[in-house]
């Protein structure tokens, strides 16, 4: 009994002062993901990695925009998004107090303008993403002029790129290329396309 009292005395007060004082947390604590649209280029890597479907990306072809959004209600604070984001636009903070009065306050989103495909005109890639790729190429030592020349390639949608591939292959093989019926209105590919990788 005396021993027990000694333990209790030694332990002192174990109750934390929280919420009247901040709760100490570990340096690597995984709290609420904080997102900065300024750094985001709408590449979508995080939305693919998120196991809980808390992140989503929606494209509005009429408006020519792409909207990134997070629903904190689904987030499991795993930090997969932070791990895959190439620009550090999303990072887990120390904040664990997520209670809100209104469910809508658990959503956050950002909308990005899309560049239209140089070939068929369908909006498909965020302008920022193309800029990012060009910067990356420059950073890797490509002269800016050469990097800028590739812009056309990156601004061509995958469908048109595939068609161009087929086109080029058939031409090289000396065959006549018949465009499939459903193909987008044929526009001449920009000159730099021919030299793109």
């Amino acid at each position: 009994m005396i021993k027990l009292l000694k333990i209790i005395l030694k332990a002192g007060e174990a109750t934390a002062k929280y919420p009247f004082a901040p709760l100490p947390i570990s340096p690597n604590f995984r709290g609420k993901p904080e997102y900065d649209a300024k750094d985001c280029m709408a590449c979508g890597a995080c939305t693919i990695a998120c196991p809980a479907n808390a992140l989503s990306m929606e494209t509005d072809p009429d408006a020519g925009t792409r909207t990134w959004s997070i629903f904190y209600g689904r987030c499991i604070f795993c930090a997969r998004c932070e791990e895959v984001c190439p620009t550090g636009a999303i990072e887990l903070s120390d904040d664990f107090e997520l209670a809100v009065f209104n469910r809508d306050d658990l959503f956050k989103s950002a909308t990005f303008a899309l560049a239209p495909c140089r070939c068929c005109g369908t909006p498909f890639v965020a302008r920022k993403e193309v800029d990012y790729v060009i910067e990356l190429l420059v950073h890797q030592g490509l002269p800016r002029e050469a990097a800028e020349q590739r812009r056309g390639f990156y601004e061509t949608c995958p469908d048109c790129r595939r068609l161009q591939e087929v086109d080029r292959a058939t031409r090289q093989a000396g065959m006549v290329h018949a465009a499939p019926a459903a193909a987008p209105p044929a526009k001449a590919a920009p000159a730099e396309m021919e030299t793109a990788p």
């Binding site: 027990l4 333990i7 947390i25 570990s26 604590f29 196991p51 809980a52 499991i76 604070f77 930090a79």
Partner: protein, 571 residues
């Protein structure tokens, strides 16, 4: 198949089977060097499982049903046995089930441990184990439509919520008592269990003559969710959430099953980190259970002190993973985070503190006269029944069996780790509590061991190829015993089938034997001793069948009665 012949551990079991039952084994395949699956003639299924279980030192871990019609035109059932004779390995017995008759012979009459698995196969797939003594639903509620089998591939979307078919409860509780008894239902939420469960105690005076119970009120449909909505590499995060106490161990078991299926060897450093975190998880889980044991014998100060000290284990988890619970550290092929120098030294400090403080508390708990009085000889699980039901964890070790997956089938970083297995012969609540206290110190020593011997190298193996329709087992020793996951990969980076069996699933069925012959006031303590996660709950209903009268006892009274044992609320 995968493994070269000379490394096939457990081949002797299959050879012996072939000798004893010629022409019964139709097919043999190897998923890993210690994992074999044999397809047997369905008519011989019970005899084969019985022979492996009782004849060759096997323990039936889990029964997996699978809708393989899209693959081969029929259903299949898999009986997973952990072979613990001379060779330690896994033998899975598979039998195909005709999609028209849906029938296969029940194994339960020969090996009681199959009972829940076969009941679940009935519920989820509509398969009919012929001769199954207990044909009540296990998982599905009474108001679920009769012909809707959730895990069949063509049955339903995972979001579908069918209209309830009835308003009345039709579940029959089984009472094997001979004489007249009074019924004491505990529920709708069990008074010590986190999972809502409905218990009926059939009592004569204050003595429990028999008991029956119903669980799965909060079945979350995780297997269905994983199979339909998630990618195979995302399921580690879902598995983290199977249990609010020991989730990481499920995540490791799941990751293991996929890694085994794909032949991935996890880098040694990742294995060591997994082991460290598994022991941290065991620490906080065991300290919680010991704390609650104090509470239920009326030693509340002990309860408070254990919980205070347990907080250090939670801090350790937060330090090492970034979260107190749901560590989210597993990926297929390894882990996501390293343990750095500073984290290592802070963990070692916490370990030293824990060792000292827990020792003081344990000494005091064992010196409390109430403790021994209330737990010795109470809630006996006879050695033979523990065997029949293939029980696991501190429960089976408290009934004289040397079973610990970490030693039997080393996984993660456990191979070669110094790890004593504590076995006691008392078969009672006291044995289970004592085993847990000893295992706390083992876990402390193991964390130190792994931190000291952690191999260098990568944390994650990348660049493996996903191969559809491979399957394998993954297993871990959770704080409550062995967790077993059986996973079959599917198309499109998804799972075809995921069966996860939590440790307590194996310990529930024999609980009725532990309750029999004890007094009502010991019931919460006994249930607590299998450590099925706790919560407080609202109330207990008591029905006196003789007087056709029922009364509701507030939870507080029942709990108080359990602790003080005076002023029975039944009077």
């Amino acid at each position: 198949m995968l493994a070269p012949t000379d490394t096939k551990v457990g081949k002797t079991y299959i050879d012996a089977l072939r000798l004893k039952f010629p022409d019964v084994v139709l097919e043999e395949s190897w998923q890993a060097d210690n994992q074999a699956t044999i397809t047997v003639d369905p008519g011989s299924l019970p005899a084969v499982v019985e022979e492996l279980h009782y004849g060759q030192g096997g323990w039936l871990s889990v029964v997996v049903a699978n809708d393989e019609r899209p693959l081969s035109g029929h259903y299949a059932v898999y009986y997973v046995l952990s072979m613990e004779g001379v060779e330690k390995s896994w033998v899975v017995v598979r039998a195909v089930v005709d999609p028209e008759t849906l029938e296969f012979p029940s194994v339960t009459p020969k090996v009681p441990a199959a009972v829940w698995g076969e009941r679940e196969a009935r519920d989820m797939f509509g398969l009919r184990p012929v001769g199954l003594p207990d044909e009540r639903r296990l998982v599905l509620p009474d108001d679920w439509p009769d012909d809707l089998y959730p895990l069949r591939k063509d049955a339903m979307d995972y979001r579908m919520r069918p209209q309830p078919t009835t308003d009345t409860e039709t579940y029959k509780f089984i009472n094997e008592a001979r004489g007249e008894t009074t019924v004491v239902p505990l529920g709708p939420l069990h008074i010590t269990s986190d999972e809502p469960g409905h218990f009926r105690l059939f009592v004569d005076g204050e003595t429990i003559v028999d008991a029956d119970y119903r669980l799965f009120y909060v079945h979350r449909g995780m297997e269905k969710l994983a199979e339909t909505r998630m990618g195979y590499d995302e399921v580690t995060f879902l598995a983290d959430r199977i249990c609010g106490i020991c989730g990481f161990t499920h995540s490791v078991a799941y990751a293991n099953s996929v890694e085994n299926a794909l032949g991935i060897v996890v880098p040694p450093r990742a294995g060591a980190i997994r082991s460290i975190l598994l022991e941290v998880e065991r620490l906080h889980s065991h300290l919680l259970n010991i704390g609650l044991a104090c509470h239920f014998v009326g030693f509340d100060t002990g309860f408070m002190q254990f919980f205070r000290v347990r907080e250090k284990a939670m801090t350790m988890a937060e330090l090492l993973t970034g979260a107190r619970k749901t560590y989210a550290l597993n990926l297929i092929g390894g882990v996501r985070r390293d343990i750095l120098k500073d984290e290592r030294s802070r963990t070692l400090t916490l370990i030293a503190e824990l060792r000292r403080e827990v020792q003081e508390l344990v000494d005091m708990l064992l010196a409390t006269p109430n403790m021994r009085q209330r737990t010795e000889g109470v809630g006996r699980l006879e050695t033979s029944i523990a065997r029949d039901y293939s029980t696991v964890g501190p429960v089976v070790r408290g009934s004289g069996h040397r079973r610990d997956v970490r030693v039997l089938h080393p996984f993660a970083g456990y191979k070669g780790a110094p790890l004593p297995v504590h076995v006691m012969e008392g078969c009672d609540v006291l044995s289970r509590v004592l085993i847990r206290t000893r295992e706390v110190f083992d876990s402390l020593a193991l964390v130190e061991y792994f931190l000291d011997t952690m191999p260098e190298g990568p944390l994650l193996l990348e660049g493996f190829t996903f191969k559809p329709h491979r399957f394998a087992l993954g297993y871990t020793e959770a704080p409550r015993g062995e967790d077993v996951h059986w996973t079959m990969l599917g198309d499109n980076q998804k799972l075809y089938r995921w069966r996860c069996r939590a440790a307590t699933y194996a310990n529930w069925p024999p609980l009725r034997y532990m309750l029999r012959g004890n007094t009502v006031s010991d019931a919460p303590l006994i249930v607590a001793s299998i450590d099925p996660c706790y919560s407080c709950t609202d109330r207990v209903t008591v029905v006196d069948v003789r007087k056709q009268k029922s009364m509701i006892i507030p939870y507080k009274d029942m709990e108080r009665y359990c602790r003080e044992r005076t002023g029975s609320p039944l009077k």
